[in-house]
Amino acid sequence: MKRILLTLTLIATAAFASMSARADDATNAPAAAAPAPAAATVEQRVTDLEQYFQNMGVGGSGDSKWASKIAGVPGPGHNAWLLTSTALVLFMTLPGLALFYGGLVRKKNVLSVLAQCFLITGLVTILWVFVGYGMIFGGSGAADKEDLIKGIAGSPKIGWMMQSVTSAPNTNYSYWVSENVFAMFQLMFAIITPALIVGSIAERMKFKAIVVFITMWMFVVYFTQGHMVWGINGIMNGVWNANASIKAIDFAGGTVVHMTSGYTGLILCLILGKRIGFPKGNFAPHSLVLTYIGTGMLWVGWYGFNSGSAVAADVVAANAFTTTTIATAVASFVWPLCDWLIKGKPTVLGFCSGAVAGLVAITPACGFVTPQGSIIIGIAVGVICWFMVNKVKSMIGYDDALDTFGVHAVGGTLGAIMTGMFARNVANANLATNLKDKVTDHIFQPLLWEQLKAVGVTLALVIPATVILAYITKMLVGLRPSEEIEIAGLDIAEHGEEGYTA
């Protein structure tokens, strides 16, 4: 305990020292050399307002620049939607995912899952404020030397403690949304991603090991993958980075969120080994009612996740909302239909699993595909994930407790690939900016190849990193609780509480 306190004190001291150093830098900076543009005329002020309606920048560009009266002012409509979306995405983890997973475990482990989700919420927020936001979204994009590895790994030094983050928009990412709102919105993604991993390792990983593993994993995997895909100079940011070496697209996190967490889940569950008694014992979910409630919350929250990822209340957000609804509804219909046709009964868990699989697959696609494309994605993910979870898992015999791999990795990969097939210019005008030659509105358009490359890079980062980090964690604190604790249940042994006392 003393050691932890000492470390915390050191971190805090270093943080404040660096903050004051930065402030000094700012005051000593030389004044800008370029002459200030002229004050805006009434016509130009009207143009600025029209730009707001279309989610575009103010103040003109090139030779006709003017000093906009609303430059640096967040746009109320766009900001309001992102504030709402941010809360919705938090709602996905607390309580959505926590209840979804909580219902699927056995009674004796329900609190351990809830505790892990809450732990991750606090832990990731702290990492995010100190370095995480800066590592993904910090830096101007122009000064690539700020990165640890150009376009791949941002530096923990950029945006230390979010000191440069204010209510003014950061036009690298949004013309109208306050940067602090944007930072909180993105934080919620960073929270739910490691929380998804909990599904694979449920009921059999030490709480301490989860703290250690997730902390390291956020730096090595999430902040890096996030920077590559969403950072302004990221090497896989095909939509906004003209110099991206892989011109891939990922609207709301198919690779960053679902593939990273899903494949990490698989590797971890292989390294951890099966739960004691698996697969002979009774591992039936203790409350599908909780799972059902959690699923509903996930779906509602996912509108913030997907539609909010337009970072504006604009036409792209409207399309993302539509495609998210369609793909999810279709998959939630197809999965229990497979249950019914192949196993004889449509199951409640099938409805819930289908909905989540649909949400996962449409995540990278929602802002780029048309409603027609989203129907096909919904059908495909419903059938393919059903087979992964119901047939392939038992054939191979790994113990992916709550199917993080079968739903998130498989659905995320499928979504990333199908985004390459069904992204259409009519769905998102931004595709024409840097991807004119990639998005040709055909199923086998060149974008598909770029998406496959992005899938490959993601796997090449996630799999080795997870193996190494898991063994480091094992060396430091051990991975599994004792047999006695695992059989008694993690709730009492690790948290000293019971979920149901009556």
Binding site: P279, N282, F283, A284, P285, K343, K345, T347, L349, G350, S353, V389, N390, K391, K393, S394, D403
Partner: protein
């Protein structure tokens, strides 16, 4: 005095209770129990994992009655609890040596 123990399907409890009340039975003890007989359990499937549930929920009814009432009671239980399908349950009858009403300390048949 005889003790009647009946294992019945849970949804039949109301009917059995009413049938016993009709023939003048004034008290009984009911417990929720689990078990299996020839009906066996059933299989549940969660995402491809199959679990056999051996023990099914049943209701156990216990009542102690005077010797003269025994046959009528058993008949009433059988008539009201029967569905004709497997899993309807069983009735057991055994002798009881003594009964005491705690409040009044009455003994024997007047206590039941």
């Amino acid at each position: 005095m005889k003790k009647i123990e009946a294992i019945i399907k849970p949804f039949k409890l109301e009917e059995v209770k009413d049938a016993l009340s009709e023939i003048g039975i004034e008290g009984m003890t009911v417990t929720e129990v689990k078990g299996f007989g020839r009906q066996k359990g059933h299989t549940e499937i969660y995402r491809g994992s199959e679990y056999t549930v051996d023990f099914l929920p049943k209701i156990k009814l216990e009542l102690v009655v005077a010797d003269t009432q025994t046959d009528a009671c058993v008949a009433a239980i059988i008539k009201s609890a029967k569905t004709g399908k497997i899993g309807d349950g069983k009735v057991f009858v055994s002798s009881v040596e003594q009964a005491v009403r705690i409040r009044t300390e009455e003994k024997g048949e007047s206590a039941v």
